[in-house]
């Protein structure tokens, strides 16, 4: 193996922790990421974990990125190998010149290392066992001890780490002091026995600014609080459970009546996904803002009710935190694979509104907006996150709210409106020509405005009917309503290349940070691309315009079948040849390297040197 210089980099490297699920490493690893943030250096961490409670391998990756790239990079510069089960795979994944950190209490044969990496051994078990007698303490503090050693190796300021531990254990002095002690055990050992720091170092910077560090699921849940959701019904499923759990937590802090202490919300853990969406529909029918959070298999179970919501025109908000499918798929891996399932959920002809936030800040905004949209359009709104946004902390701009903002409750007829002379109430009358009818809440008026809600066909006055013309009239109005939605949902955002180009790229959701970085990599290869980030379905007219303005357009997405591309082709009548799929679907977050390589190779292929020139 060739001699390789150790990687030398300040504030730009990837550390990966390989642990055993259930070993208590998660909090120590997150503490490591936050510590770097406290140095003013952006980080982009990701959990890579199994569908298992205990015992299986788990990884936590921290990308330290002075440039602020928030997508996954790929590759590992420093591997903290704490899991013997995955040793070989972990060692193999280290970049040439990278570093391997391991527990050297038990000597490893040289054959288990690589010659082109720097091996750093710390006798973690020996240090831990000489200090602690309790088995659980030994396990937990070993994590803090390796964190302490990393502080020395990467030149982290221990005071900033202590400060974070202090915040974490505020009011719990015993835990605080014991954690700080463990931190220094590891740091002191490294300083005394190893060459510190190594080539990878963290230096204080000012690149974080006022950004916040938040998980998308928590942000979406907070958006539901700000958006006025009062009813949440849910059923646990990875990776969406933390949405409802965060909503519960936010509500407990923010939503109690100051005088009585009573809750201004109702949260029900349903017996299944069917009950959860049923509760949402019942609550929304009765005028409350309601939502559920689920993932792909939950969407499958909810589709009957989703069809009812569409056809009976009842608002509902579904937060779909996507994971790899089909079926149980890979429950703890990320994908953007429910686009078609959600866009056309349920039997018969249906179309549903989808929102695609790119980060926690947008998850917050879109979640709040989804309740306005649901009530305005009287239909189901899908907030489409995925595990990569939902369950990972990500740096984003601070959350913002306009205190003057009122909730848009849509076309709701009050008792006074029903009593207006000449007023004709028909539940499904298209009074304004936008396809959106007026509704009334139950209990509004003693004699006017009541109607029967049903999933069967009915006329404009909500009277059951199987007349073909009446059915078709209703279905056409629903199409009209969907067209109206085009101008109500978030519009796509376009960014043009530095130089005029014939090529474009479309992407959405959690792909955004990797795409932003990939553009730079592509420019370095000499490729210019205009880009369009789609933020909602139905597609705004600018999507078709963007495609028309370019010779062809890449569509980057995290699924096997190019579902967004299919939807664009289907809904806009675009020639599929003009949309080139760039697909990533192994369950890991898409990386800038992958995008740049896939598009770059395709672009290079277009620039084949003419034969005559080549042979001359």
């Amino acid at each position: 193996m060739s001699v390789q210089s150790p990687i030398s980099s300040v504030n730009d490297f990837v550390v990966r922790f390989a642990n055993v699920n259930g070993s208590g490493s998660a909090s120590a690893n997150e503490l490591f990421a936050r510590s770097i943030l406290r140095h003013g250096v952006p980080v982009s961490p990701r959990n890579i974990f199994p569908s298992n409670i205990q015992g299986l391998p788990t990884w936590y990756e921290v990308r330290v990125t002075e440039a602020g790239h928030l997508g996954a990079r790929g590759g590992v510069d420093l591997m903290v190998a704490m899991n013997p089960q995955t040793w070989d795979k972990d060692v193999a994944s280290i970049e040439p010149g990278g570093y391997l950190f391991y527990d050297s209490t038990k000597p490893m044969p040289t054959s288990k290392f690589r010659a082109d990496i720097t091996v750093i051994g710390v006798p973690l078990t020996a240090i831990t066992n000489s200090t602690y007698t309790d088995p659980r303490q030994r396990q937990l503090f070993k994590n803090i001890i390796y964190l302490g050693a990393l502080c020395a190796l990467l030149d982290l300021d221990p005071k900033l780490v202590e400060q974070l531990i202090g915040e974490q254990y505020k009011g719990k002095e015993k835990l605080l002091s014991s954690n700080v002690h463990a931190l220094h055990l590891g740091r002191d050992w490294a300083l005394q026995n190893l060459k510190c720091p190594i080539g990878l170092q963290v230096k204080k910077s000012d690149k974080v600014g006022d950004r916040i560090f938040m998980e998308g699921n928590s942000a979406a849940a907070l958006g539901a609080v700000y958006g006025g959701a009062t009813v949440c019904a849910w059923y646990p499923i990875t990776p969406s459970s933390s949405v409802a759990e965060a909503f519960t937590s936010h509500c407990k802090k923010l939503r109690h009546d100051p005088e009585t202490g009573k809750a201004k919300y109702a949260i029900v853990q349903g017996e299944d996904e069917l009950a959860s969406i049923g509760i949402v529909i019942g609550a929304s029918w009765n005028g409350a803002r309601a939502f559920t959070a689920t993932s792909g298999p939950g969407i499958s179970l909810m589709t009957e009710f989703i069809g009812l919501s569409y056809f009976a025109e009842i608002p509902a908000v579904i937060m779909n935190i996507q994971r790899a499918g089909p079926s149980t798929g890979m429950p703890t891996r990320t994908q953007q694979c429910d686009i078609i399932a959600c866009a056309y959920a349920s039997h018969g002809d249906t179309k549903h509104v989808l929102l695609f936030p790119e980060d926690p800040a947008e998850a917050f905004e879109f979640a709040a907006q989804s309740f306005d949209l649901a009530e305005r359009l009287q239909t189901v709104i899908f907030l489409m996150l995925d595990l990569d946004i939902g369950m990972n902390h990500r740096l984003c701009r601070p959350l913002k709210w306009d205190d003057a903002r009122q909730y848009d409750r849509g076309k709701v007829m009050t008792a006074e409106m029903l009593d207006e002379p000449g007023r004709d109430f028909g539940r499904y009358l298209d009074v304004d020509g936008d396809g959106i009818p007026y509704r009334t809440y139950p209990g509004t008026h003693p004699t006017k405005g009541s109607f029967f809600t049903r999933g069967t066909s009915r006329d404009r006055y909500a009277r059951y009917s199987e007349e073909g013309a009446i059915y078709a009239d209703n279905m056409q109005r629903l199409v009209r309503k969907f067209e109206t939605a085009q101008d109500m949902v978030p519009r796509p955002l376009q960014a043009n290349a530095a130089k005029p180009t014939k090529y474009g790229v479309i992407y959405f959701g959690s792909t955004a940070p990797a795409m932003d970085e990939a553009i730079g990599l592509l420019e370095a290869r000499g490729h210019q691309l205009d880009r369009l980030r789609i933020r909602a379905f139905p597609f705004h007219s600018s999507v078709a315009s963007f495609i028309a303005d370019h010779d062809f357009v890449y569509v980057v997405e995290q699924n096997r079948d190019g579902q967004l591309r299919q939807l664009i082709v289907n809904e806009n009548g675009i020639d599929p040849v003009r949309l080139v799929p760039i697909l990533h679907y192994d369950g890991t977050p898409i990386t800038a390297r992958f995008i740049a390589n896939a598009i770059g190779d395709h672009q290079d292929h277009l620039k084949v040197t003419p034969l005559r020139k080549a042979v001359s």
């Binding site: 943030l37 017996e271 959860s276 509760i279 029918w285 009765n286 009812l308 903002r405 209990g443 029967f452």
Partner: protein, 351 residues
Amino acid sequence: MTYIAKPKFHHPGLPKNELGYTHRDYEGKISTLCAGCGHDSITASIIEACYELSIEPHRVAKISGIGCSSKTPDYFLGNSHGFNSVHGRMPSVLTGANLANRDLIYLGVSGDGDSASIGFGQFAHSIRRAVNMTYIVENNGVYGLTKGQFSATADRGSKSKKGVTNTDNAIDLVAIALQLGASFVARSFSGDKSQLVPLIAAAIRHKGASFIDVISPCIAFNNHAGSTKSFDYVREHNDAVNRLDVLTGRDPITVDYAPGTVQVVEQHDGTKLALRKIDADYDANDRLAAMTFLQKHAAKGQVVTGLLYVDPDSEDLHTHLDTVERPLNTLEAEDLCPGTSALEKINASLR
């Protein structure tokens, strides 16, 4: 579906309740169920109970699933909002509606197919959550709209219209409701209006999960096997271009019997049902005794009717969730939104 419009004429001499409403104000569209269907008798009892309670009709939300029984909310309280949800999923929709506005009265109407099969889970969970509702199952033991398949409440050994013998055990929804903690549990017979009306009225007034199982004979699928007017006979002897289903109407079955006695009721197909009305001195506050009483008489082949159990100190889901008294659907941004000051604190905590 209703093709015949009900006349709007009100006789000026109709008696009025405390609110000045007549019976007509509690009616809905004309029923399209088969003449003699027990469900229509239940509809009449609901109308009577609401009239007697002087309920404002529009303050009732009537929610059902899919099936013959679930059609009936269209036939009472015409000025109320109704909701035909999806098969068996009435309880979740009702739960959500109740969470949104605790001030309305919630009538859940379901069938045995709805509640004992596809919706068995939702039935159970709405009961255990103590949703404040009156949950009525119109129980006839068969699937009417799909023409006569067994439901899960059909007795083992009973025969379908097509002569198939049911080999599965029956689910007793009353026993299940008692076990799940329903705070009001009753059973009645569709034709026993003198028993059913006060039961419905009491259930509506009860705070918490009220469950009433109402045995309701089906005219279409328990008529005489040998009849030349029977469904099967007409189908077999019909040579017309279109195949039509012909049903002959029957008089609804009515009964009136004293507490503590057993009344044998002959159904449309000639089978007999032994109804036991509970004694006047029956202790309806003892859940365990109710379960024992139910099982003891079931072993004798008797169907116990009456108010089997009521918890005078009952609570409901809103109590358990400790929600504000004001209906959640009336809360607006000023009530719900924590505002920018709270958001700035959250932002600060995330750095």
